[in-house]
């Protein structure tokens, strides 16, 4: 294996470009989850919402050929799946963790059912054409950065803009203030007239939509669908929320780290060309998960003050 294919100067820009592309689904899902968690709601069903979003987007793109439609239908499907979480955890105040895990099981099963329902069990697996990169005028001419950030697919731009918009909503708007109040002190928020259930419903549906769109981005990058296609990215996104210290902009950095590790391991595998190397390639495949684990541990230990919203995971029942 030739390490300069992976680590040489000429390989750096393509590596970072791939890293951003691979990171964007996680960044998007994590940013949505940040918003929900800041309102006090733990949306553990993200992996399930991603799976439902991925299959919905796959079917859409397969029949329309338009990746943008896929992103939209994927987002809607994720939102609808999140509504199940919302009814149980917000309206009925059921335990958020168990509900979330159940919705992951539900989403995984539904996605698998839909796939076989639409495409059957036969022959070669169907493929879709992913979205093509578009060079943004002027910006893409910036050396290195232009190639890495501004020569991506329109879906990547849309996702990153959404993440910035979520940050803006959370930190700069009146609604963002109610979100933070609902997550830090729901009783106080309630007493000044903020509807905690309504606020949590909105953030949860946004989180579901971002997770669904993230699923659409995953299949857009891969071009096919199979069971377990999201590969734990929904769970990684929840880890990234912790790394990001519940800030959507932080999710960009945290998600990018994951994307970088993923891009790196894919390149190492490609460079070794399936030949026997002294280092097992499974070690590289496991890297994104190992890095997430280590990063979550380091973040948890490294900050003196836990930044988690105080009412995170605590059901709120308004007094009548």
């Amino acid at each position: 294996m030739n390490w300069s294919d992976v680590l040489g100067a000429g390989a750096l820009v393509p590596l970072l470009t791939a890293a951003l592309r691979l990171a964007v689904p996680i960044i998007l899902a994590a940013a949505g989850a940040c918003l929900a968690e800041r309102s006090g709601l733990m949306n553990l069903g993200i992996e399930g919402q991603m799976m439902v979003g991925a299959i919905t987007a796959f079917v859409t793109v397969y029949y329309t050929g338009n990746p943008l439609f896929g992103a939209v239908t994927g987002a809607v499907a994720g939102l609808l799946t999140a509504a199940i979480v919302g009814y149980l955890t917000i309206t009925m105040a059921v335990d958020q963790i168990i509900t979330g895990i159940s919705v992951v099981i539900l989403g995984t099963g539904l996605a698998s059912f839909l796939y076989l329902q639409v495409f059957g069990m036969t022959g070669t697996p169907p493929r879709i054409q992913g979205s093509t990169p578009v060079d943004l005028p002027v910006l893409s001419d910036i050396p290195a950065i232009g190639q890495i950030v501004f020569s991506q697919s329109p879906l990547v731009y849309a996702a990153l803009l959404l993440v910035v918009a979520l940050w803006w909503v959370l930190s700069r708007t009146a609604f963002g203030l109610s979100v933070r109040a609902a997550g830090e002190s729901p009783e106080a928020a309630d007493s000044v007239g903020v509807s905690v259930p309504r606020t949590r419903w909105i953030t949860l549906l946004i989180s579901g939509a971002t997770a669904g769109m993230a699923g659409a981005l995953v299949i857009d990058g891969l071009g096919f669908f199979q069971d377990g296609i999201t590969g734990g990215r929904g769970w990684i996104a929840l880890g990234v929320v912790i790394l990001a210290r519940w800030n959507p902009l932080g999710a960009i950095a945290g998600g990018f780290m994951f994307g970088l590790v993923d891009a790196f391991q894919l390149r190492v595998q490609a460079a070794s060309g399936g030949q026997a190397t002294s280092v097992p390639y499974e070690l590289f495949q496991a890297m994104p998960y190992a890095v997430t684990l280590v990063a979550v541990v380091v973040t948890t230990v490294g900050f003196a003050r836990n930044n988690a919203p105080k009412a995170l995971g605590v059901p709120f029942v308004p007094a009548r």
Binding site: I105, L116, G239
Partner: protein, 359 residues
């Protein structure tokens, strides 16, 4: 006028509140799971119709695949075995408030350990092999489970994320094991050599029921006893309800969490070893097939009660076998089984909450 008028009318004795609440709790204990099954099967029927099948016919096939004869019953019992063991492990962990989803990793590492032991050590007889495998697989599972436990108890690391990441790490260790050190050179897909005959679990003559089933049978009362009658069982309940109350009463929260993580890991490891030596006989990627999540359904549907878990495991195992049969014979996707399971837990959660509110 009857003489009854002379004495004060005897009013019906007011129902003893304790009896009434016991009756209600019995009704919900039995009623909610039944309701959940009914709702789950109803949603399943809708999916079967969508898939172009006939629900009556599909459910008949399922019932037959689960209970139709001795062979089917044997498969049901062997399928239930890992679900019961892992479900018990989850019940112990969840009682302590340790919400792990790491059983897939414990199970996989148990299977890897069992395969490695019997394929590399010339133990020669099951009388030696079974205890050695049981101990090593339990220790391996407990190590993986213990990592998430120690991270949670000592450093406050979210166990949901850590246990799930550990599942993936173990999965890639499995992938490497079947590709390299234990690879079968003649296999078409990555898999290990078949385990030696002496290592296979003994079966009841004429059936597929292996002795691993009895491990699960023994574990059920053991875990029940552990929860009801031991110091750990008491501590784990207090820690699960309120860590601060536990700490104020001199219970070590960290030690209780780590203990429950170790026990649930060990149970998962044993489950993986039993499956390998009793049913699969070869290590392959197919070992890692989502049982970690299925067993969560079992633990919750069984209301974290050891005996409830047995019933739930029978139901879930039957559903899994049944949906596979339906996929083979009627081309209805087997994943309806997964959807039905999820709908059942969601129904339980919702119904529990409605009953709770009505009080």
């Amino acid at each position: 006028m009857s003489t009854g008028m002379l004495s004060p009318p005897v009013a019906a004795p007011p129902p003893d509140p304790a009896t009434r609440s016991r009756l209600r709790s019995l009704l919900t204990t039995v009623g909610i799971p039944f309701l959940a099954v009914a709702v789950g099967l109803a949603v399943g029927a809708v999916l079967i119709v969508l898939a172009g099948g006939n629900p009556g016919e599909a459910y008949a096939t399922m019932l037959n695949a689960a209970l139709g004869g001795d062979t089917q019953l044997g498969r049901l019992l062997t399928g239930m075995t890992p679900l019961v063991l892992i479900g018990l492990g989850y019940a112990i962990a969840y009682r302590t408030g340790f919400i792990t989803i790491g059983a897939q990793g414990h199970y996989d590492v148990g299977a890897i350990t069992a395969a490695a032991v019997v394929l590399s050590l010339p133990l020669g007889t099951s009388w030696v092999a079974i205890p050695v495998v049981a101990v090593t697989a339990a220790v391996a599972g407990a190590c993986v489970g213990g990592i998430a436990g120690v991270l949670k108890a000592r450093l406050g690391v979210n166990e949901i994320i850590s246990s799930l990441m550990l599942n993936y790490l173990v999965f890639y260790a499995l992938a490497w094991t079947v590709r390299k050190p234990l690879a079968n050179p003649n296999g078409f897909t990555p898999e290990s050599e078949r385990i030696p005959d002496w290592a296979a679990l003994a079966t009841i003559p004429g059936t597929r029921i292996h002795i691993g089933v009895f491990v699960a049978v023994a574990a059920v009362p053991l875990v029940w006893w552990l929860m009801r009658s031991t110091r750990f069982g008491f501590s784990s309940q207090i820690v699960g309800e309120s860590p601060s109350v536990a700490a104020a009463n001199g219970i070590s929260v960290a030690r209780t969490i780590v203990t429950s993580a170790l026990i649930s890991g060990a149970l998962g490891g044993i489950a993986g070893a039993i499956m390998l030596l009793g049913s699969e006989f070869r290590l392959s990627l197919a070992v890692s097939s989502g049982i970690g999540f299925t067993a969560i359904v079992v633990a919750l549907l069984g209301r974290r009660n050891p005996f409830g878990i047995v019933l739930a495991a029978a139901l879930v195992s039957g559903l899994t076998l049944g949906s596979q049969a339906v996929q083979r014979t009627q081309e209805i996707p087997a994943s309806i089984g997964t959807v039905v399971q999820a709908v059942m837990i969601l129904t339980v959660l919702l119904a529990n909450r409605i009953v709770e509110r009505a009080r």
